[in-house]
Subunit: 378 residues, 2 copies
Amino acid sequence: MADTHPPVAVPFATGDYTARMRRVVDSATAAGLDGVLVTPGPDLVWLTGYQPTAITERLTMLFLTREHEPTLLVPTLERPDAAAAPGTADLALTDWRDGADPYAAASTLLRPAARYGVSDSAWALHLLALQHLMPSARFASLTQALAMMRAVKDENELARLAAAGAAADATYLEILKVRFAGRKERDVAGDLADLLLGFGHEQVDFTVVGSGPNGANPHHEAGDRTIEEGDAIVLDFGGLMSGYGSDTSRTVSVGEPSARVREVHEIVRLAQQAGVDAVRPGGACQEIDRAARRVITEAGYGEQFIHRTGHGIGVTTHEPPYMVEGEEQELVPGMCFSVEPGIYLAGEFGVRIEDIVAVTDDGGRRLNSTSRSLQIVE
Amino acid sequence: MADTHPPVAVPFATGDYTARMRRVVDSATAAGLDGVLVTPGPDLVWLTGYQPTAITERLTMLFLTREHEPTLLVPTLERPDAAAAPGTADLALTDWRDGADPYAAASTLLRPAARYGVSDSAWALHLLALQHLMPSARFASLTQALAMMRAVKDENELARLAAAGAAADATYLEILKVRFAGRKERDVAGDLADLLLGFGHEQVDFTVVGSGPNGANPHHEAGDRTIEEGDAIVLDFGGLMSGYGSDTSRTVSVGEPSARVREVHEIVRLAQQAGVDAVRPGGACQEIDRAARRVITEAGYGEQFIHRTGHGIGVTTHEPPYMVEGEEQELVPGMCFSVEPGIYLAGEFGVRIEDIVAVTDDGGRRLNSTSRSLQIVE
């Protein structure tokens, strides 16, 4: 594996984080918000590099408003960890002690009748407490109010996503060489996880091995089913490398595929190609879904394509923008997302093909480059 | 390890889950709620045994109300997983497809001007969407409205917590035999994780190894510091076994302890004993905190005890009730929580001693039984 060893990521500097925070305040203002309230999770990681050991009922919140400098409120006993994060050097760090009211502390950083965006995954516990304390304030989720906050990636982020994609591709090439027939799905899933880690991932998020009828459940992970000769197998795997996501799917055949598997695989391959071909700056997210779906619908399998065509990727493996009917968000160079149509035949098999695509100045660039033809495994 | 092999947990039956759901509707009614809305996480695991592969922006919600039978709304593509969960056989399962509005589907199960409890960790994204659709409805977090929903454990749950505690104790006894001096904290943390898994845990939640000055940061996990002769080391580890939590802390000395370490350790030991002695049905949670804190304060270290005395444990390793000043919740037989006072001397060392305690009919029963005296390791 020496020559596929991943490049070491260029570290983000404090200034990178500070610039992101400043940009968020500006775009929040443009979106009619008075500020953004960020809780632990991907938004906070992206803005400060800080991830508490665990997300608990203890309030941790970053306040990005025009009146105050960026301020991070943390529980006293987590303050040293927060202070050590790469993006917290330039912000005001403040803390609250067990037994004190963290929401009272939070409200001193807010205006009573203003409008704030809140991290999608902020706990209801925290939001309800703030709403109770500030009944005139209005809150909107970031998906509602500022969905594209993390969507456009800079060069450093794109390099990390490309490196993660290359590691996922290396994983796929290796998994083609392992034995499938006679082994359980979860054993192959274990191989996928080991390979992702071996090729440089620090975190494995999912390793789907959907063999035969299990492949017809798009969210099946991997179970006790023993893989048989003739199975079509959906492989869908990814995780984080240098903090950025990979996510790729290929469908393989154990031994010679049936004519039906070949036919359905080819339809999905063409649909995926159509989706990728539709990627262009200025286009709308829903156009990617329409382009892929049209191919499948015209082939008579529209009812068997039961999910949207794609989702964004960045510091998570699943985030806005979504490639789905009704999403009119404009594509912007630097956005990265999956294009992953599928056909699911209950009781028989499933097929899904997925690449991550980055929007460029004149189209889309795949960050996965392994063959999308139907590969035969043993 | 053969004779410490954990007993196999008695499976929960569908009827167990159904009884829990019924009890929640009853206690919600008694608390003035018209129902409870449960999102993925510990509440949903406890009520249905269902845990989606990932918690995403796609709405999954269990509706426990008086008007409707228990109803679980899931994304179409996760329906097979939900249907396969042990506690969903008796409830109504319904789904929504990508592109449809899940909140409209949710609102058909709710009354417009009613009052609902919501899982603490429900995403703000979902809550805000429901609030927008139903402006007359009122929502309260379960910590506000029904904090003790999962707090009182039945016999099966107590047996699992006891088994998890015994596995954590076995881990502690083994870790006393390993080499500490000259190794990095994270290597000992790795030993702790391996031992927890070896003694039957399926999930490791934390393995704190706070050596020397790192022990003075109660949330320090384990880092690159090389452990030295003479260090006091806070060990705090736990995870899930058969779905229920363990969490225990001991502080050890590498070689002969200083007089100061001995003195501080003894104060914490007495404080922990006082906390455990204060456990009795009918008492208030805050009395546990007061009893432990009094010992430390009277010894002159009150300012160095910077966290509350304990937290509940169950399907998570950290949940209500909290043993903290101001928490007047009455203790009830079957409640389980940590009693874990500590003293943190910045730049020097920390000491914490922690057991899980179950409330019995006439006091408290420790689920950890290893010696709380200062042990010396190599």
